[in-house]
């Protein structure tokens, strides 16, 4: 592989990073997910929690993620290993998993977009076509869905193979065309909705229905949509900050990215809402049903009514779905990159990691593509039940990632307070001292580094230390009590809307990850006998530390020795040589198996 900068991979500049992050954040979450969330959660009522959590959850979290990644210079697993300590590397795996699990079905949705693009080109979405029929026919043919899912993954692989530079270039191009097309669609939808003299869709989207604000569901959906859409808690920002230049801004970028993302959401939401209210007889049930298909049903109808004749209409609908596909692909790229980064961090060849991740995303995405394709009796629209359940489970799982990030910040703060106590020979706990020297430590050390255009104040500490646990507890409690109260037969694990299925997915995942922490994430198992098949089970293995390679740009000063996992000799900068021996848990010094192997990075 040819490398322009042999020691590290970087974005070329600020705009490159912004576009890459915005590209990752803006995706189908804005166009496919946001409008149906607005519809299903009472229109304007949904915008209240959505906006509040943008400032209370998403932006602070992205700031934290940027700060974490910029210092650790590793993917999520490495970041948690360094910041939360070796025992908590599994939190990084959880974060990576949530993102990857979303990627499983995200690839399917990306495939839908690609398919709609080719259908549009061939004139299959012109005026008079029954969009429901197109949708149902497509969704109920698993072979087609899987083919387009595969195409989506292949394109992603191609884009990601080359690293940050290629990602950056593709993003800039695609984002600009998406903006243009979205505004065109917005204008068309506005004209359509205004044909009857009222702007029902606009009014619905911006009218607060108080009863919805009383329901926890609205708030938890507001949070999860805000986080999902901005990729807050997904580790995307951690991953991309690995490629930051040494003096890159982390705070204003975070705010810009989230605000840009939400700006697009409003435009897309308004477009879909106005279109639905213009074309549907019973718009409220169309949007209120929260069908994942709504974008694909409504927007072709919008474009089919565009002025300028069939040619323009065809052009517009085709380009729109092309842009939507691109938006989805850029998000897809970040998802795969996030996973790949974790492999590369641990010494796996990039090409191998990309291939392996892509195959896994394809295989695990198959159930979402083909399983449980049902038809809603009331509307006659097919919907992918399994995919929607996945969306539900991992969408809410993002909240844990947010909490984990907060946890590593608490932990850093506490350890700094302890060392401050030692330095100043203070023994008793004092809240004032703790706030001054512990709580603010992360912010002082990693965020307000002098590179930022936006100085972060105490409010951020308050959100991290009080806001996050409080929001998490309230939302989780209310969510589960709501599930218990309102869902029929919630404990039945086969009920896709029940409580058991979600706890099962979360529980099994968390259990496996915590179990793997010691054996796979921080250490690795080296077989002691020649029994290649059963050695993990027969305990005929020894543990040795797993090396972690940091992608530190040249000239950057990113010391990590003050961090819980920073003193580990096997956490090294890429290109550095590893220690050739280590002290095992019994206190014996042993030689490390890869000490002599030169890690090949990037």
């Amino acid at each position: 592989m040819s490398q322009q900068e042999p020691s590290s991979d970087q974005f070329s500049g600020r705009m490159g990073l912004i576009f890459a992050t915005i590209g990752a954040a803006i995706g189908t979450g804005n166009i496919w997910r946001f409008p149906r969330m607005v519809g299903a959660n009472g229109g304007g009522s949904f915008l209240v929690p959505w906006l509040i959590f943008l400032f209370l959850w998403s932006i602070p979290l992205i700031i934290a993620e940027f700060a974490l990644g910029k210092r650790s210079r590793t993917g999520t697993v490495g970041t948690f290993r360094i910041f939360a300590g070796p025992k908590f590397a599994w939190m990084g795996l959880w974060t990576a998993w949530i993102s990857t699990a979303i990627g499983f079905y995200y690839a399917v949705v990306t495939g839908w977009c690609l398919n709609y693009f080719q259908t549009a080109i061939r004139g299959g979405l012109s005026q008079g076509v029954d969009t429901t029929e197109v949708w149902n026919n497509f969704l109920q043919a698993p072979g087609q869905v899987i083919i387009y899912q595969m195409i989506a993954i292949l394109i992603t692989m191609a884009a990601i193979w080359r690293g940050a530079k290629a990602i950056e270039k593709a993003n800039v191009m695609l984002m600009v065309s998406l903006f243009v097309l979205l505004f065109t669609a917005l204008f068309l939808a506005f004209v359509m909705d205004f044909e009857d003299g009222t702007l029902d869709g606009f009014v619905y989207m911006f009218s607060i229905q108080p009863e919805y604000l009383m329901e926890p569901e609205t708030w938890i959906n507001g949070l999860s949509q805000s986080a999902w859409s901005c990729s807050a808690g997904m580790g995307m920002a951690i991953t991309y900050s690995v490629y930051m230049r040494k003096d890159e801004d982390t705070t204003l970028n975070a705010a810009t990215m989230c605000l840009a993302n939400n700006s697009i959401s409003i435009i897309a939401g308004l477009t879909v809402m106005m279109a639905v209210f213009a074309v549907s007889d019973d718009p409220l049930s169309a949007v209120g049903g929260g069908s994942s298909a709504i974008t694909f049903l409504v927007l072709p109808e919008v474009f089919a009514k565009a002025p300028g004749g069939p040619a323009i209409q065809l052009l517009m609908v085709a380009v729109f779905f092309l842009a939507l596909s691109f938006a989805a692909l850029t998000s897809m790229i970040s998802t795969v990159e996030l996973c790949v980064r974790n492999f590369v961090d641990h010494g796996v060849d990039r090409s191998q990691a990309v291939g392996f991740t892509s195959v896994a995303i394809f295989l695990f995405g198959l159930p979402s593509a083909a399983l449980w394709i049902l038809v809603d009796e009331s509307t006659g629209v097919a919907f992918p039940q399994f995919l929607e359940v996945q969306d539900h489970i991992w969408g809410y799982g993002l909240m844990f990632s947010g909490l984990f990030i907060a946890y590593s910040i608490w932990k850093y703060g506490w350890s700094r307070y302890k060392s401050w106590q030692e330095e100043n020979e203070v023994e008793d706990f004092d809240m004032g001292d703790y706030v001054d020297n512990g709580v603010s430590a992360f912010r002082d050390d990693f965020i307000n580094t002098g590179d930022n255009d936006w100085w972060i104040g105490r409010w951020w500490d308050a959100i991290m230390y009080i806001g996050f646990p409080a929001m998490f507890a309230v939302l989780m409690l209310s969510y589960f009590s709501d599930l218990l109260l309102n869902v029929h037969d919630p404990w039945n694990p086969t009920n896709p809307h029940g409580i058991s299925i979600i706890l099962l997915f979360w529980g099994v995942t968390a259990f496996i990850f915590i179990s793997l922490n010691k054996y796979v994430l921080v250490n690795r198992m080296v077989p002691t006998k020649d029994s290649p098949w059963f050695w993990p089970l027969s305990r005929d293995f020894e543990l040795e530390p797993r090396p972690l390679f940091r992608n530190v740009p040249e000239g950057a000063d990113a010391p990590i020795d003050m961090l819980p996992g920073g003193s580990d000799p096997f956490v090294v900068q890429a290109g550095e040589t590893l220690p050739d021996s280590f002290v095992d848990e019994y206190g014996e010094t042993r030689s490390h198996s890869t000490a002599t192997v030169e890690a090949e990075l990037v």
Partner: protein
């Protein structure tokens, strides 16, 4: 259009083509019958769509000329008096001895109560006529003969029917209607397939109050309401129920014993006609006249005839025969009767309904008087029921009904043979059933009585109700027949006057004709007939399905329930109600999954009567009930609903939709009906959101590219 309909239209057209030719050939004859007919068909057709009556029917039927000929009285163009009526009855009996026998009063002997009765005991107090009556049954001279009653043709296996007219002297239509019944039976018995209306079809329109063959509907509009009651093609109009089955009549007569007493109160009727109002009573006594019989209640003991000038006795003489029967006689329940039973107040409010003297006889000879009132209970617990009555059945006329009922025991089982009974009265256009003596009470057979009552109300377009719902009465014919003798008994209040105008006689009588046949028909087992009838009606009824429910722009959602007019429904909410529940997708599910309903309890909404009619599944008109589902305009989801229908006795919880209609409830989608919100507030909200998001974005972008600017939010001390 069915083949029959097609044939009908062809015939009608053929007839309409034929008329002008007939008019040319026989102008004189036609002008004699109806001068207008020479020109009216053509003119009528030019003026308005539809036919004139004579275009589609025989001229006889078109001008309501009955086929049996005869003078104006026999043709129901004017009233019979007692004598002409009696003559006509005798004449018909003589002409049809095989199925009609004529009688006056009873022969007498020892009656069911052990009293020695003579034939003169049944004769009126003043004019000394016994009530004339006919018995109609197949082979009326055969069967068992009854020495007390004086009739033959008694068969143990034939249920008996009693029709009584003219309890009240001035109610002249009440003996005219049974006379039309006798005439009809006498004429049509034994005939096969008579085309009554001359349209070429036979037996196409039976008695049911409906224009089954649609010939009335073919008339031009001005002829559709022949009787002028405001209802087009309703009962009593030409073309409605005009071609009944002769075989049906023959079969009925051969399997029932029908006792028709057209004029029970001959004394009173003669007095009303000859003294009180006069021959042309409709001119001066349209809604007044003499009501009671001619009992002499004068304190002095002697007054030959209550006359208009007799100041003291005028109101007090006479007994209201329809308050004189023994069941709950004189019970002062606020009923229309004297405050103290047996008292008559001259000029007082109740002298028109004087119920007769108190009985002072120790009927069971146990030394006590009036200790066991006639109410179906053993009041004195001596093992005998109703054996020492307080009063009632004191008049020759009521004694006649009493002994005819109690001595006519064909099968010797000791109970009355009369399974169904009618008493005709005037006026108000009502069909009444027991009870009359108590309010807020229902009889054990309530829903069955309601059912038959509703059928007959449909047949006549009269209003059905329980007798006491009109006003309470004690000692009336029907309470006694039903309460004592378990007979399904109906009081028909005919027409709109005591003395109807002569030109109205025929169509009013025709309108009431079907009832007699219906009551004869159900006499075999009225209870079972009601059960079967109710069962049958339920299959024709419907609850509006979702396609037929209109969700209004706002407010409650109306749901219709169409019931057979004869169905004895109640609107009490415990028995008849709409069950509904509003189901909406739970919020838990709707953001990621399909609509799945959670368990929601059913709610109840009452049904209320409406003025509207509806069309039953078989095309007949039905009674429409309406229920409303309260539903806020903002609700979106589905209403599942079903109707629970109860009868007045609550014995039949019928449900709609029925199982045949697939599923046990309907599901109605409710769209969002309220406005989507305030435009002004929405714009404000938009501005707030936009300024935060777009404004914020603009701010950060500016900050990002503004190198002059320092760090945002940097504290004074440098951070």
């Amino acid at each position: 259009m069915s083949p029959i309909d097609a044939t009908r239209v062809e015939q009608a057209e053929a007839r309409s083509r034929r008329v002008p030719m007939t008019a040319m050939l026989l102008p004189l004859l036609l002008s004699l019958i109806a001068p207008a007919s020479l020109v009216s068909p053509v003119e009528a057709q030019d003026a308005e769509p539809g036919y004139a009556p004579e275009d589609i029917w025989s001229d006889e039927y078109a001008f309501q000329i009955f086929p049996w000929g005869g003078n104006e009285r026999v043709q129901f163009k004017t009233y019979h008096d007692y004598f002409t009526m009696k003559d006509r009855m005798q004449f018909l009996s003589d002409r049809n001895p095989e199925f009609i026998s004529y009688h006056e009063g009873l022969i007498g002997g020892i009656n069911a109560r052990g009293n020695e009765m003579g034939s003169d005991d049944y004769e009126g107090w003043y004019y000394n006529h016994a009530s004339p009556w006919v018995k109609i049954t197949g082979d009326v001279a055969g069967g068992d003969c009854n020495d007390f009653v004086g009739d033959c043709g008694n068969y143990a296996d034939r249920p008996d029917v009693m029709f009584v007219g003219n309890h009240h002297a001035r109610e002249w239509m009440s003996y005219t209607v049974p006379m039309l019944f006798i005439e009809t039976v006498a004429y049509y018995y034994g005939q096969a397939g008579v085309d009554n209306d001359g349209d070429g079809l036979i037996d196409e329109d039976p008695w049911d109050g409906i224009d089954n063959d649609g010939d009335c509907a073919m008339l031009n509009a001005s002829n559709q309401d022949y009787n002028g009651d405001g209802v087009a093609c309703g009962p009593g109009d030409l073309g409605v129920d005009e071609d009944f089955s002769e075989q049906f009549i023959t079969d009925l007569v051969n399997t029932r014993e029908i006792y028709v007493i057209p004029m029970l109160n001959v004394d009173g009727n003669r007095y009303d006609r000859e003294e009180y109002c006069g021959e042309t009573a409709w001119e001066n006594c349209r809604t007044s006249g003499w009501r009671k019989n001619l009992r002499d209640n004068t304190v002095t003991g002697f007054t030959p005839l209550p006359d208009v000038d007799e100041e003291v006795d005028e109101g007090c003489d006479g007994v209201d025969l329809n308050r004189n029967y023994q069941f709950e006689w004189g019970a002062p329940l606020g009923a229309t009767g004297p405050l103290f039973p047996g008292m008559c107040y001259a000029g007082g409010p109740n002298n028109d309904v004087y119920n007769g003297p108190v009985d002072t006889v120790d009927n069971d000879e146990d030394g006590k008087v009036n200790e066991d009132h006639v109410d179906g209970k053993d009041d004195d617990a001596d093992g005998l029921v109703d054996e020492d009555w307080m009063g009632g059945n004191s008049e020759p006329e009521t004694k006649f009904i009493q002994d005819l009922t109690e001595m006519n025991d064909d099968d010797g089982d000791g109970s009355s043979e009369f399974k169904s009974t009618i008493t005709w009265h005037s006026f108000s256009e009502l069909v009444l059933w027991p009870w009359g003596h108590c309010t807020e009470c229902v009889s054990p057979d309530d829903e069955y009585l309601i059912y038959h009552g509703n059928v007959m109300a449909q047949m006549t377009d009269y209003a059905p109700m329980q007798s006491s719902d009109l006003y309470p009465t004690t000692g009336d014919f029907c309470d006694w027949h039903y309460g004592v003798h378990d007979s399904y008994c109906y009081t028909i209040e005919i027409g709109n006057a005591f003395h109807e105008l002569p030109e109205d006689i025929a169509h009013i009588a025709v309108r009431n004709l079907g009832i007699s046949f219906y009551m004869s028909e159900i006499a075999d087992d009225p209870r079972y007939r009601a059960i079967v009838g109710i069962e049958n009606t339920t299959t024709r009824q419907w609850l509006a399905d979702p396609a037929n429910v209109t969700v209004p722009e706002n407010g409650d959602i109306p749901v219709e329930l169409c019931l057979d007019t004869s169905f004895p429904y109640t609107t009490q909410i415990e028995r008849t109600h709409l069950m509904w529940r509003f189901v909406e997708p739970t919020r838990q599910q709707n953001d990621f999954g399909p609509t799945e309903w959670v368990d929601v309890p059913w709610m109840m909404s009452a049904f209320a009567d409406t003025e509207d009619s509806c069309v039953l599944l078989d095309g007949a008109n039905g009674t429409m009930l309406m229920s409303h589902i309260p539903m806020p305009d903002t609700s979106v989801g589905k209403i599942q609903y079903k109707a629970m229908l109860g009868t007045t006795n609550g014995a039949f919880p019928f449900t709609y939709p029925t199982v045949d209609e697939g599923g046990n409830y309907y599901e109605l989608a409710i769209p969002y009906r309220a406005s989507f919100g305030s435009a002004v507030l929405a714009v404000l909200m938009f501005l707030v959101i936009a300024s935060f998001v777009w404004g914020g974005l603009g701010y950060t972008l500016r900050a990002m590219f503004d190198d002059e600017r320092g760090v945002i939010g940097l504290p004074e001390d440098g951070g």
